[in-house]
Symmetry: C2
Subunit: 418 residues, 2 copies
């Protein structure tokens, strides 16, 4: 199995000014194609330290990937230092030179030597054109069939070069064949899923592994196949195991793609020609806002009312004074009236309402912080339920309410029991 | 100067399943107290690799901080491995044993041996009680006045132990005296601030440095003093430089604390007894939602209307058909009428409105993607302005609109020219 070391170069990462998301992203990509990583090293922009780290990484691994230090400020010494390490010169990468000229011409700006220095690469390296920036990446063949890849530190540029030029090269270098099966679940906690899949997990051969990736909104699961490139029989086993897992989790699957819950309800609402309006108390606009972050939301979401005060609940949404007095604003009758009110006001097919206690204040023994009533009104449905989400932060509370509201809508749209 | 190495232990970090936020957080803390970090290393849960990495870190540094591997699953081998490296036994840390018993008793659960194993520490180490979890941290004195600190991988537990037990110890170990002066700015870009501060920056002695930490919402700046513990004269220089910088940036400062823009407007609105309502088109609830994420928002925010469709703009907010037809929904007259409409509807002191083109579709040569009109209506003010925020992602567009809307409100509340 091929070993890889990731080397992150940059003082700003060491002192915590920038969070190193690059090495996590690369790490995931590599593990997905069966390349083995044992160590990631992060160092300051220091010539001696860079050379020493590369020397050790070369000795102990087959592939080295560096990020950072390819820009034009005086801190950016990665290329110079690698050239020194390999005893090579720096030369211009012509496609990148032209790239820079075209970019500056478009903006009516002058190209100077400093800017052009970003197009320099180590002599003998393969330059990897940067599709969205100036500095190219590099692929350098080292002795003993080892390889060094160099990438910029800006995450969007790093990812673009990795995906355009490096991913396939690494896949060829890997001696493993890998496949991945994705499931997005909702309505089931990680611990419940573990329990449900216990026998299934025990039945898995060692070349198939399962990964749980929980978040507040949904539970992502992945089944991974990792076999020798020539092993064809195991692929059939993997196929069967994917089917088995799908069957076991049937009731909780929201998608087989990398689709978010919001994307699922937006797609379904469009497919079924349903318009939506939303009345929000405790989520205060964040529920509507989570849909509006998606392109195309205007086809489905007509509007909403942020009814933070009781005055607005009664004046705008027609919640009766009696209900507010008898049951309070955080109650199922109030949530129902809010959803009905906004549906009528905005003339939509579906009305959704949230009212709850986000905390840290406002809780009582009967209605502790974390209590929320969520209603969904359609032409053929009146649904409301109280949930107890516990005493976490306001942000997490809001996130969870949003997830439940969309999950209820998803079930309604797919005619799954609510 | 003392050198520190941070060692992150955990396969889940290597393969990108978990993002390593711990080492960035620790890195920032250390740089703030004048401790020098040159390298961070991240490795899988492997005995040989852990020992080899610690050996190298010990040879080249004065202080080693590890995170991860202190839990109770079979992957968690950090303590066992360190004991092996130092040729010591594991012993129970009595305060942690009691801590675990108390925790389980409260929940009516049985304590078993596996759970208790979390209270084990390396013989001779100082156990650092975990205030919010079971596994204690450790401080181990190594030969040659070097130190090893071990922390759990769960970020909240890591931070709690670091702040309760480790920060002051490290401060004492550091030979440096440091001080930090924070400014939060708005209405000025990083490049403009750099220009404005050019002479100031050139005037700084080498023991005072300036840091720019830009985000979409605000520009954080920090002036750092880093001197020898016995150097008292330089503190006075730092004091003067802080005053000088404050003066230069006077017009853009929103706070000297770690207060966010939302926190500032919430505080000011409360102080000045102002109530707010919001009419949102392009931000779709996210503007109101950004305030609702803060505790105490209900004292200020009465409610809002998400007027995503033109129908809602005219029916709910009283935007006239003529204005929609003549100027369109993304226009200053429409934004003004929306803000007036919501203010009247919700009977508030202040009405705010947003209407714009978030993209990727819907742009035109006259009104390209990124165009937004933001209005603010108060009893003594009618303000509206068109902004061109460029063609970035919907999320960034929304973030920037929110920042501008709050910045306008902040200026109004402080009677600064809009």
């Amino acid at each position: 199995m091929k070993n890889v070391e990731i080397v992150t170069i940059g003082t700003e990462v060491i002192i915590g000014q920038t969070l190193d998301t690059n090495s996590a992203w690369i790490g995931e990509k590599l593990s997905m194609i069966g390349l083995n990583i044992q160590r990631k090293t992060c160092i300051i922009d220091d010539e001696k330290l860079i050379i020493e780290t590369l020397q050790k990484a070369y000795k102990e691994n087959d592939i080295i990937i560096t990020t950072g230090g390819l820009g034009l400020t005086k801190d950016d010494i990665t290329k110079k230092t690698i050239a020194k390490w390999l005893n090579k010169n720096l030369v211009y990468h012509e496609p990148s030179v032209q790239n820079i000229h075209a970019f500056y011409k478009k903006r009516n700006k002058e190209v100077n030597e400093l800017v052009l220095s970003m197009a320099l690469i180590v002599e003998g390296a393969e330059g990897l054109l940067n599709p969205i920036g100036a500095a190219p990446g590099m692929m350098i063949a080292l002795p003993n069939q080892k390889y060094l890849f160099c990438l910029p530190g800006v995450p969007t540029e790093m990812k673009a070069i990795f995906e355009n030029h490096i991913f396939d090269k690494l896949k060829n270098l890997s001696e493993r064949y890998t496949e991945h099966y994705h499931l997005h679940l909702t309505g089931i906690a990680e611990s419940e899923a573990t329990k449900l899949l216990k026998n299934f997990e025990n039945s898995l051969p060692d070349y198939i592994s399962i990964a749980y990736l929980p978040s507040y909104k949904l539970l992502k699961m992945r089944l991974d196949l990792n076999i020798d490139k020539n092993d064809h029989k195991s692929k059939e086993v993997f196929q069967l195991k994917c089917e088995e897992m799908t069957k076991l989790l049937e009731n909780y699957i929201i998608s087989f793609e990398q689709e978010s819950l919001e994307e699922v309800v937006l797609r379904l609402s469009k497919e079924k020609n349903q318009t939506i309006s939303i009345a929000e108390s405790c989520t205060g606009g964040n529920l509507a806002g989570s849909l509006v972050k998606l392109s195309g939301a205007s086809k489905v979401l007509i509007g909403g009312v942020v009814a933070y005060s009781n005055q607005i609940k009664s004046e705008q949404l027609n919640v009766s004074r009696e209900i507010l007095e008898e049951f309070g604003a955080v109650s199922e009758p109030c949530a129902l009236q809010m959803a009905k009110g906004v549906k009528k006001l905005m003339k939509t097919d579906i009305g959704i309402a949230t009212t709850g206690i986000a905390g840290p204040d406002g809780g009582s023994p009967q209605k502790p912080v974390g209590t929320v009533c969520i209603a969904l009104i359609a032409n053929d449905l009146e649904f409301v339920k109280t949930y107890h989400l516990g005493d976490s932060s306001r942000e997490i509370f809001i996130e969870r309410v949003i997830a439940i509201a969309w999950e209820n809508l998803r079930r309604y749209l797919l005619k799954i029991q609510l």
